[in-house]
Symmetry: C2
DNA sequence: GATATCTAGTTTCTATTAGTTACCAAAGAA
DNA sequence: TTCTTTGGTAACTAATAGAAACTAGATATC
């Protein structure tokens, strides 16, 4: 009864797409360390815009992976924290991050090989 | 000496982006099962266009994750197969796929909760 | 002989999405 | 008075994903 991950309508693929999100995983890993506020996240993640951050936080909350808590201070404080479900997903992402760190050199070397061969063929 | 995954120029993030690619992981998992030809892949992966398939195959080859082998038949046959490096990456993706399969129900439930609450607030 | 088929792509164009910039309200500080 | 802070939103633009048509070269069909 294995779901067919290659079919267009496979619900598992919807989740893989979600995880594939450029910023989502980064945010999840950060919030696993400690709860954080909106602008704190923005400053930590280089290159993310307010709009994207707001958007991704909303979708992560919708998926039940993080929690949003607004505190009535002035100006208002909004704290984001990871949920139990989010922690398990972050755990599943760890092997991937480890792989990236261990194999980065090999990938870069492969890219250089490929690029120099392409240049050769063009000449 | 931990790389800062949250910095814009972190090379590890380049790889996470790569893995985050919608089709790349799907193709990698397929080729781990058995080598496949271009149109065979296209038919198996529902919803992928020829352009995207061609593009993703090229970038996977560039990263040294798959191999391309053209056989001089008529019409020409091109076989794609996974490399050793690709196998290790696919292995790191497995926990993610397992997580998706196990927790899909919870995610969908969270989405329904969120959506109905939004509708309530709008009313 | 003209047309259709297979292969593995590329080209062109459009729709969607990602990202940038400017702006909002409310309150405190300079 | 203007500037800064909070956590966003609205409008706009750049980048990318995807749809559809086209390519080549040889073989099969009408």
């Amino acid at each position: 009864m294995k779901p067919n991950v290659y079919a267009a309508d496979c619900p598992t693929r919807r989740i893989l797409d979600r995880v594939g999100d450029k910023w989502a995983v980064l945010i999840l890993l950060l919030l696993r360390e400690e709860p954080m506020r909106f602008n704190q996240l923005r400053r930590t993640i280089e290159g993310i815009s307010q709009k994207m951050l707001s958007q991704v936080l909303k979708s992560l909350e919708r998926d039940g992976l993080i929690k949003r808590r607004a505190i009535a201070t002035v100006p208002v404080t909004v704290e984001y924290s990871i949920t139990q479900l989010g922690v398990t997903l972050a755990g599943a992402v760890d092997p991937l991050r480890d792989w990236a760190e261990q194999n980065l050199k090999d990938v870069l070397a492969a890219q250089r090989r490929y690029d120099s061969q392409q240049k050769e063929e063009a000449a």
